[in-house]
Symmetry: C2
Subunit: 369 residues, 2 copies
C-alpha cells in the first residue's frame, strides 16, 4: 500500500447539482489510502463483494481503508444471485452490526455486486452513502456509473430497484489483469454499444484496436474506459431518471434482457446477451429500412470479432417475445425499441411493423447458433 | 356511486416543485368517479389493501374507478405483516400481470398498507405512480402524506424503505365511521404529536375537544385531519429528505419504535407506542430541565384521556435501550432525541445526561403498567 503518492488521477464528474460525484480512473487506486480516504467519509463501511473478487482484492482494499470498522458480505458470483433474497441478506448484516444512517456501503466487484450493494444502500434507512469500486470491464464502463441499482425478478431483468447515485466511482484499471477473457469480452459489448449508439468515431476506433483490447493492452483499455465513462456521465447528467435520452443507452438491451430472463440468468453473461442484442437491434433496424445492410454487417462483424454471440441461441422467438413484453420501456402495452439510423445514431421508437420484429426474432432465436 | 357531483373538495398541496401533489379531504371521496379519475391517470392499477378494509371499501372504490384494469392484492392486517416478504408478494403480482412502468399502485388502508404499497411503487421498475387512499385516522393525519415508505426489520422499525412521494392523497373522512375505537385512539396520538411539536393552539384545542373526537364527531375529526395535513405538508415541502426540521415529526417515535420492535410488532398499534413515546419524551425533557412539571403533566393527561398507554409496559429498560440504538436518527453511535422546551416547541439534541435517559426508561418500562 502506498501512502500519499502524488500522482495525477484521471477524474470525470457526473454533474447532478448537489449530488454530483467523481469517477476516478487509474491503475492501482484500490491500494491508495489517500485517494480512498478522500472519497469514503464514513466510519462504518459495509463492503459487498463476491467469492471470486474478494480473495483477489479485499485484503488490499481493507488494508488501504483502515482504520475504520469494515464489515464484509461475500456473495456467490453470478447474475443468478442478483435477487431480493441476497438484498435481504445484505440488509440483515447492516442491521446485525447496528450500522447507522451515517454508514457507507461499498461495492467491490462487477455489475451484480454493484447493483445489489447499491439497492441495499438505497433502501437501508431509506438511503445511506454508497461507493462503487468496479472490478470488471463491464462495471467500469457502464453499470457502476449512473445510479441504477436493483435486482432481477424471475419474470424480468432489473424489475425491482431504485435510482441511487454513488458518492464516488473508483476505477482501478489494474483489476482487469485478473479478469477472465470471457468477462473482458462481455465488457466490450457495452463499449461497442456506446460507439453504435452515439459515437461513430469510437466505433471505428474499436474496429481498428479490437485486437489490442482483447489482448488486455492497458492503454487501449484505459482509453475505452475513459471514453465510455465520459459518454455515460454526460447523458446521466442530462437525464438522470431516464425521461428521454438515457433510454438510448438501452440499445441492444431489450433483446438482451429477454435472453437473460428467458434463460433464468444462468447461462449468459449480461454483456454476452447485450452483444447478441446489438446484432438483433441492427438487423431489426435493417428490416425496418433504417440501417443499410453494410452497416448492419459492420455491427455483426465487430460483435463476432469480440468473441461475443451474434445470435440468441435456441431460446425460441415466442419465449423471447414474451420476456420482451416485460421490458421497462413498454408503454401502453407496446414494446418500444432503440433502433439505429446509422453507426453512431440511435433513436427510440414504437413505430415499426410487427413482422419486422417477428422475422428478426425468428432469424436470431429460432434455432441453435 | 355519484358522477360529477359539483361539490367543493377541501384541498391542500405538498409543494415539491415538479413533484408537488394534492391532498384532497372530504366525506365520500372514495365513491366520486370524477375526483378519482382526475387523480388516477393510469390504465392499469394495482390496489393494495388488507383483509379488514377490502370488504368494506374495495367494491365501491373499484366501481368508481372503472373502466380500467384493476388488480387487487389483499394482505393480512397488522404491523407484523409490514415485511420484505409481503413487499415481494406485491411485486410478484405486478410482474405476473405484466404491469408496465405506466401503471399505478393505489394503497387502500392504514399505515401498514400505505408504507408497503408505497415501497412497492418506489421499487417496481425503479418507480411507478402511487396514490394514497388512507382509511385510518393515523394514515389520514400522518403516514399517507410525505413519501416515507418501507418495511420493518426484526431489528428495527422502518429500517428498509424509500422516499417516494404519492401523486395524490385522497382522504375520504367517511371511512372513519367504520374505524374501531382502538384505531381511532391510535390516530389521535399523531394529532397530539403535531400539537406538542409545533402548535400549542392545536394542543389546547385537543384538550378542549377530545371528547368530541373520541365520539367520532365528523366536524372535529375533519378539523384535526386538515390541521395535521397542513402542518405535515408544510414541513415536508421545506425538508423532504429529513435533513433537518422534518426529524421533529419523530417526537415520541424513538421511544415508540423501540417499543414496537421490542415486542415484534405484534402487541402494540403504532399510534399506541407513539402515545407512550410522547409521555416518555415529555418525562425525559422534564428530567433534563427543559420542560416544566406542569407541562409534562398536561402531556400525560391528554395521552391518558385519549385512552392511550402512558407507559411502555414490561418491555424492560435495557431491551428498550438496545432497540433505540438502531433508530435512524443515531449519529456517530449516539442516540439523538426529539425533546420539548414547552408545549408546541420541540427540538432535536444528542446533548443530554445519560442518567436522564436511563431513569426515564426505568420509570416507564421497568415494570408492568
Amino acid at each position: 500500500m502506498s501512502r500519499g503518492r502524488r500522482r495525477h488521477v484521471h477524474t470525470l464528474n457526473v454533474e447532478l447539482r448537489s449530488r454530483s460525484y467523481p469517477i476516478l480512473i487509474d491503475a492501482g487506486l484500490l491500494e491508495r489510502t489517500a485517494v480512498l480516504n478522500s472519497h469514503v467519509a464514513a466510519r462504518d463501511v459495509l463492503i459487498v463483494s463476491n467469492t471470486t473478487v474478494a480473495p483477489l482484492y479485499l485484503p488490499a482494499l481493507s488494508a488501504a481503508l483502515t482504520p475504520r470498522r469494515l464489515v464484509p458480505v461475500i456473495l456467490p458470483d453470478g447474475e443468478a444471485h442478483k435477487t431480493l433474497g441476497n438484498l435481504s441478506r445484505i440488509l440483515d448484516v447492516l442491521v446485525a452490526n447496528r450500522f447507522g444512517r451515517d454508514c457507507a456501503v461499498l461495492a467491490l466487484g462487477g455489475g451484480v455486486v454493484g447493483d445489489l450493494a447499491g439497492f441495499a444502500a438505497a433502501s437501508y434507512q431509506r438511503g445511506v452513502a454508497f461507493v462503487q469500486v468496479p472490478t470488471t470491464l463491464l462495471a467500469q464502463v457502464d453499470s457502476a456509473v449512473g445510479g441504477k441499482t436493483g435486482v432481477n425478478h424471475p419474470g424480468g431483468k432489473n424489475l425491482i430497484g431504485a435510482f441511487h447515485q454513488p458518492d464516488a466511482v473508483i476505477i482501478d484499471t489494474r483489476t482487469l489483469t485478473t479478469l477472465p477473457a470471457r468477462e473482458l469480452r462481455a465488457g466490450l459489448a457495452e463499449v461497442i454499444k456506446y460507439g453504435l449508439m452515439g459515437d461513430a468515431v469510437l466505433f471505428a476506433w474499436l474496429e481498428g484496436h479490437l485486437d489490442a483490447l482483447l489482448a488486455g493492452e492497458p492503454q487501449a483499455l484505459a482509453h475505452v474506459i475513459r471514453r465510455s465513462c465520459e459518454i455515460k456521465a454526460a447523458i446521466v447528467g442530462r437525464d438522470e431518471r431516464e425521461q428521454g435520452e438515457r433510454a438510448l443507452l438501452n440499445l441492444g438491451h431489450t433483446f438482451g434482457h429477454a435472453i437473460e430472463s428467458a434463460t433464468a440468468y444462468k447461462e449468459w453473461l449480461h454483456g454476452e446477451a447485450v452483444g447478441a442484442g446489438l446484432v438483433m437491434a441492427a438487423a431489426m433496424s435493417q428490416a425496418c429500412g433504417y440501417l443499410s445492410a453494410a452497416d448492419a454487417a459492420r455491427v455483426r462483424q465487430l460483435v463476432e470479432r469480440a468473441g461475443l454471440p451474434a445470435h440468441a441461441g435456441d431460446v425460441g422467438s415466442q419465449t423471447l417475445r414474451e420476456h420482451m413484453a416485460l421490458d421497462k420501456k413498454v408503454k401502453g402495452g407496446r414494446i418500444r425499441l432503440v433502433l439505429l439510423r446509422g453507426i453512431g445514431s440511435a433513436f427510440m421508437t414504437d413505430d415499426y411493423p410487427d413482422e419486422a420484429l417477428q422475422s428478426t426474432l425468428a432469424a436470431y432465436s429460432g434455432a441453435p447458433r
